[in-house]
Symmetry: C2
Subunit: 207 residues, 2 copies
């Protein structure tokens, strides 16, 4: 990695030992909101220069998003209204981890609940931070194939429509601004790089 | 777009008029937290089936992320500690919109503050929702080129390290799980598709 702009550094993750000039340490934490849905905390942190600051953020259990591939290559997605952004988004099926649930178990549950599909093979792409400035959330993206259709099992008050698009349709949407959901953009990216033989997926069969 | 899973639909965005079976309508809103940093509201919404539900979420002013391209093709990024996720992330320079600030003005300001660089040409890739279940945030990604180095202008208590990587280095990091920041993954995706002549960027010169 080459050196560049004015304040120099190497790129990429490095052991924290090398990064004492960047790392903050929490000294105490208080609950700011214990909402029906959101849990907000305020931490008092020691900055690298020894001074104190506060960090207010959402404690999130983590989430999973699934990119389900039909045998003919089409992708199964969901359309749902997202009140905070006031619009219907086309998204990978996804949801939050339940207590004591493994990520793969969550992926299987959310795929089945939101789309009805079960899958014979699964592969983990990676885990991604979507709002690192104010949320602990990591979204782990899994691929699923060997899909078997079934009935949606939506929670009460959940309205989710299933649809299928092929890679070219998703790509055209993305380039035109029609795929604003970040996890879905990254799922498309990983799909294309995997199909081109560039990014890895290690499939495991489940029974 | 082909039909697929059990509950059928066409893909892609559609006018809300077609989507009355998905859309929620807010009937009243209350403030849940007016934090130093986070503003949380609780809306009471009318569901498509006529019942009521609540939606708790963060009101966010919106953000911008910048993908700055040096004349030799390398990309300028920043490394910073993100307390909510407890790690240092390699990210596109980014930040929240100030009151009454245009997105491009914010992009220019954040690029200069975090990296010192100013740019002669700018192009908008798109706007992306990173946490549509619980935040109004949209992150607009802009490309910058014709970079001129200068001095970082960090806020007090901000510790940001500049580094540069080329596309191949970023790609190798991404495929190995070393680029977990979502906006940065999408910036890389758009960079690669643009360089391949597939996704558009319309450059405008600024003086």
């Amino acid at each position: 990695m080459a050196a560049g702009g004015p304040p120099e550094s190497r790129g990429g993750p490095a052991p924290v030992g090398d990064d004492a000039h960047l790392v903050e340490r929490a000294e105490r934490s208080e609950t700011r909101l214990e909402g029906g849905f959101l849990h907000v905390v305020l931490d008092h942190v020691r900055l690298p220069d020894g001074r104190m600051a506060t960090r207010e953020y959402v404690r999130h259990p983590g989430a999973v998003a699934v990119l389900p591939i039909l045998d003919d290559g089409r992708i199964v997605l969901v359309r749902q209204y997202r009140h905070p952004v006031g619009t219907i988004l086309l998204e990978l099926p996804a949801g939050k981890l339940d207590d004591n649930e493994t990520v793969l178990a969550c992926a299987m549950r959310e795929l089945q609940e939101e789309t009805g599909y079960t899958a014979r093979e699964w592969a983990r792409a990676g885990v991604f931070n979507n709002a690192a400035a104010y949320s602990t959330e990591g979204i782990e993206i899994w691929f699923a194939r060997g899909l078997v259709p079934g009935a949606q099992q939506l929670d009460e008050g959940e309205f989710v429509e299933v649809c299928t698009l092929d890679e070219a349709e998703l790509d055209a949407l993305a380039s035109a601004g029609g795929l604003p959901d970040m996890k879905t953009m990254i799922g498309l990216q990983w799909l294309q790089r995997w199909r081109n033989g560039q990014w890895p997926l290690d499939w495991v069969a489940v029974s």
